[in-house]
Symmetry: C2
Subunit: 345 residues, 2 copies
């Protein structure tokens, strides 16, 4: 299995995750309801931290929950356990072996909080620490760069959101269509490869997203850094004007996720401004008018709901990172200096 | 007033903030106690977001509060108000004019949550939105790059922590010594200037910090980006090994805050590894042995407590960014493309 194989396996992996037993999530939802839990703490590192950011938007917008991302070092370095006893605490880790993520979930469970592990290894320390476990069931991920464990983590969070508030018929059918949307995103490969070749000379770039797609921008930038060794600087378009906009100069690649919906106008304005300033724009969108403004357009499948689209859009983004790696003469299956499990000291 | 003047004004600004009336913070603390609030949500953008990260560690470690950073777009873009009614909600904004930060605080107050504004403009919309207000009293900040409003925001958070749990005599005297520690950090200027000249050719760099100093790494990187136009990529040393370590190559500047204390061993290990890999290390520390490993050591004032040191260490970091800007032939008082207030759409 190569990285490209694992990227292409994601529609099937997403389908497996959607069809998994909902028993652990129903049990979590029961406690959340009975104990009137109104806030969620998510502990994660690296790629899983980007899944956590998606969870913050998803559970915030769809479930009106206040979601915060834990700083696991507070427990692992300073030996202090913040009070989690009125929160739902979720740990996300593909390996389930990150000790500081495990530490947060252990502390929360000791305090009596409902706890949930989302992991690709149901025999891991994280799974043992949590009261309930969602097995990502992504299958073995051999490439060092995480792909299918990221998309299945997003799908697991979708299932958590649905367990906490039942879907409308429209939502239900949108969710059922998700594996097809992920498969459709694979069709972006030729456009992704062309865009990657066009920006292959640059050793730095800006990545922008907003709202639900902010997580995608973060994860896209990480994939570009770890695989293609390009300094990819991810921003929410909202924060970008606070200072980093000073970095823009002619020829700088600007990678943006600018789909239809509530973020559309703001994202278009930033893309227009930066393209006018000479940035080499690579834009992923499901909107023809937005795509027409980009030097390198990458079409996303149309008709995917805002809150579900990140599961599909990251797949097109992974393909850009993969082809950028090849275009720069590097091996996507042997990235430099990375090991699969991080054991934070 | 130039940027350098404002950097040098920070000991006096910190002292003013320390000596301000504690009435609004005492009122917040009373509600937190009476209503058994156990979690805190902080809404902020840009530089203030880095103050929020410091607040997460400070209130987590010293007050055992679970602190999350809000995603203000959930309200401003999607029109949804997460449930904040059992949280303390803090908005941080030097101008007090960021509409989406104001939106979070307004929503929380409507829901009946205790709310606190930390702002340099007590007549701002943020101040009007919150039940209690801490005036940063930093004086007018004319440079576009925020400096003294950042350090005074940190001091305001220290005062919040003290109001929530009274200081021990040792803590009290450490806090009283803080303006002197900030003044001592200004003595780092010659070393900061020398380090800046040594790395001035590079157009990208890595910035590392951990624990309390993770906020410093984030803010240091932002200052370097907005002033010196160098792609500065900030990481927690914990996340760094997950992937971005692939970016390291001979000659790449590595900027690290590696003080004594619980983060010391881990930070040293990363600095040693990256220096061995050929990185051009610029290390800020109060520990002689750590400094001796760096190509470009910058001594921080000794004897400052872990939880207070970020107020001093960012001052030395600002001096590196300032001198890097000069060394690259740019004007620190006229940065490109940035306006002082961000009105997020």
């Amino acid at each position: 299995m190569t990285l490209r194989d694992e990227i292409r396996e994601q529609p099937a992996a997403a389908r497996r995750q959607l069809e998994a037993s909902s028993a652990p999530l129903d049990a979590v939802a029961r406690r959340v309801r009975e104990e009137a839990v109104s806030d969620v703490v998510i502990a994660a590192r690296g790629t899983s931290d980007h899944a956590a950011i998606y969870g913050q938007y998803l559970l915030g917008v769809r479930n009106q929950l206040s979601v915060g991302l834990a700083a696991p070092s507070i427990t692992s370095l300073y030996g202090v356990e913040p009070r989690f006893d009125r929160s739902l605490v979720v740990g996300i880790s593909q390996s389930g072996a990150s000790p500081d993520v495990v530490g947060v979930v252990e502390a929360a469970r000791r305090q009596g909080a409902p706890t949930l592990a989302i992991t690709n290894d149901p025999g891991s320390p994280l799974a043992a620490a949590a009261e309930q476990v969602v097995d990502l069931a992504a299958g073995p991920e051999r490439a060092v760069a995480a792909t299918k464990t990221y998309t299945t983590s997003l799908v697991a969070l979708v299932r958590l959101s649905l367990a906490l508030r039942l879907p409308s018929p429209q939502e239900q059918s949108a969710v059922e269509g998700l594996p097809d949307a992920v498969a459709a995103a694979l069709d972006a490969e030729p456009a992704a490869a062309a865009a990657a070749r066009a920006i292959a000379e640059a050793d730095r770039c800006i990545v922008l997203g907003r709202g639900f797609e902010y997580a995608t921008a973060r994860e896209w930038a990480l994939k570009i850094k770890e695989l293609a060794h390009v300094f990819a600087d991810p921003y929410s378009a909202a924060d970008f004007r606070h200072g980093p906009i000073a970095l823009v100069e002619p020829g700088l690649p600007l990678l943006a996720i600018a789909p239809s919906g509530v973020t559309s106008a703001g994202m278009r304005a930033v893309v227009d401004d930066l393209t006018a300033a000479g940035a080499e724009s690579v834009v992923m969108s499901d909107d023809a008018s937005t795509l027409s403004r980009a030097r390198h357009p990458i079409a996303l499948p149309p008709g995917v709901s805002d809150w579900l689209r990140p599961v599909a859009s990251i797949v097109a983004a992974q393909l850009v990172a993969y082809h950028l790696t090849l275009a720069r003469g590097l091996d996507p299956d042997a990235p430099r200096g990375i090991s699969k499990v991080t054991r934070t000291l």
